[in-house]
Subunit: 347 residues, 2 copies
DNA sequence: AACTCTTTGAAACCCTTGATCATGGTCAAG
DNA sequence: CTTGACCATGATCAAGGGTTTCAAAGAGTT
């Protein structure tokens, strides 16, 4: 029967109970070496007795080391975003940090003020996870407003290749690998069902995936068919891919992610095309469901969770350069061959 | 060239520029009526000029109305959790709140201290989204520690039916509906592949889904086969469901969620059983992929996003009883019949 | 001239960190 | 036995960016 919402213990309460001054308590809590062992014990006992926990808000406000960050992310229902976020949260929690999230609406154009208003305070450490237009805008806004306290996860677009605030999977290479794999199976060419990119904004180059695909085709002297653009949702992808699948001359489709591949699979089924007999479909990201579709999806595994972890570590390093600069620990993207890919049909 | 990280403007800076005291600025920012129009204008001009934004940390610390909450959630890769979280975030952001997340590890038993340590401060408004054991523990911990500042989303377990801090979808009824639907198609009985529950903890009753299923069978005087228990992952579900699918006498399976149903679908395919010809499979939750599997999944739609919204509104109401108590605005769960269900095979 | 109301300012407080300085006490060197 | 160095701790104060309570100044009314 905890009747009244008894006020939480503060550092002063602990000090009083332990018979010390409040900042001796602070010293103990923050692990200062300048505290005698028995004093420390007394303080710790008082902390335990009162159930004292430092107030993270006050701590941050007082200028202690940052212990919270905000993640700006696109649609969390995307496997890639969700998994990266999960990795960030996990790493952050392990380090005693807390993480806030704010979701960028893919349909909206967020102004700079919009973006900044999402942060709980100026200078809030922030990670942007986004591959689409709103994400690109957000990261530019933050780069302008607080370059030292931000990290972005996502595609790089040429110029920023070496930027110290960017963590990017180089999925262009695997896209090429997947394309070559399909060519080697005997396909004349490979079509590409593409996720939305931020091309409208940063027009230097195509998405890595699309570029790796096109490069591989060119290197093999194959025709590069026009990219079929899709939205992020499965239903959009379904509509976009229908005509492609209906075209009997199309024998292989590389999809921008597994949701798109699932739509292609469904469309193929409805068009009466056998996968992989008539049509090969390759996905991207290796979402959890990919191994359990029928037939099981050939796709590219991406180690998003460790990328998230890397992003967190990079952020810490940027906030406090005495911390080690993280070295990439995520696995390189890898083609996983399952059942949706095979040789083209014999004519 | 923003060379130096120019310090963000504070309320004092605004006050100085506008030639007023700092808490006149506070009044303007918080919309107090007791400010002369021209003073207000001057302050607003200063705010605009300096690009001032209130620091949410400081505001909360000073005891202003809460504007942030923490969501404790189980595995975010579960569609239900993810969608509820999305709903909360959306509603919160619309109200100017920020949301932190902390993920409960399904494999770990979190102590009370563990749970409390995740909150940035004592009394932090919190929403628990969890249907499994760690979630149940977390919600009990919080209920003990700060009953007024918490809301839970999830299954209710009997006693708490009317608890004012709980938002629960009554999915027992639809589970029954789905079961009756299968029986009416002519199935002898319906098997159940169940998601993990917190039965070990709150043993009063089974999960709603399982109970609704069993009730429906009993009411129809049908045998109630033993529940097949699965873990949360698709691969666990796959292993768990294999024997069930291999049993030719099984003609209909109601699955605890769509991931499980996907596993069942895959297992059926590998066992050479035609769905829905030989075997009907019904899922739960209507995850995005459900409409695009082959065959498309018959499942139960759940309006998680609006449940999340409701949770946020309930939390606000509990923090400030002058705010209206929200009335449920989410759609009731609804059976969506697609392609994985049909009459049983003729013997 | 007394009184009320509106507008504004002053000060205290929220909780914690950090910096500065002072105070005793211990210990080793002279 | 001094003297000086060093250590643990306390005492203060400022800062961080707000909110809230209370009081005062100014204006208008009767």
């Amino acid at each position: 029967m905890s009747a009244e919402p008894k006020k939480a213990a503060s550092i002063w309460d602990v000090a009083k109970l332990a018979g010390v001054s409040h900042q001796t308590v602070s010293r103990v809590v923050n692990g200062s070496p300048r505290v005698a062992a028995d004093t420390r014990d007394r303080v710790l006992a008082a902390i335990a007795e009162l159930g004292y926990r430092p107030n993270r808000l006050a701590r941050t406000l007082a200028g202690g080391a940052a212990q919270s960050l905000t993640v700006l992310t696109a649609d969390t229902s995307l496997y890639g975003s969700e998994a990266s976020l999960r990795g960030i949260e996990k790493a952050a929690r392990a380090a005693g940090w807390s993480v806030s999230i704010s979701v960028l609406d893919p349909a909206e154009t967020h102004s700079d003020a919009d973006i900044v208003a999402r942060l709980p305070r100026a200078g809030e450490p922030t990670i942007v996870i986004a591959h689409d237009e709103p994400g690109m805008r957000a990261r530019r806004t933050l780069l302008e407003a607080q370059p030292q306290a931000m990290v972005a996860v996502g595609e790089y677009t040429g110029k920023e290749f070496d930027e110290p605030w960017l963590i990017g999977l180089d999925d262009g290479q695997v896209a090429g690998e997947a394309t070559r794999y399909l060519l080697e199976l005997g396909h004349e060419t490979v079509h590409h069902l593409a996720i939305p990119t931020a091309l409208g904004i940063e027009a230097d180059r195509k998405s890595h995936r699309a570029e790796g695909w096109a490069d591989a085709l060119r290197q093999a002297d194959r025709p590069v068919p026009p990219v079929v653009h899709s939205g992020w949702t499965i239903s959009e992808a379904f509509e976009a891919v229908k005509p492609l699948v209906a075209d009997k001359s199309v024998s292989a489709i590389l999809c921008g992610n597994d949701d798109l591949a699932l739509a292609a699979l469904r469309a193929a089924h409805l068009s009466g095309r056998d996968v992989p007999g008539d049509l090969s479909i390759v996905g991207f990201d290796n979402a959890p469901f990919a191994a359990y579709t029928t037939p099981a999806l050939t796709t590219v595994n991406q180690d998003f969770e460790n990328v998230g972890k890397g992003a967190f570590e990079l952020l810490r390093h940027r906030l406090d350069s005495s911390l080690p600069k993280p070295t990439p620990t995520w696995r390189a993207p890898e083609l996983i061959i399952r059942e949706t890919s095979g040789p083209p049909p014999r004519r």
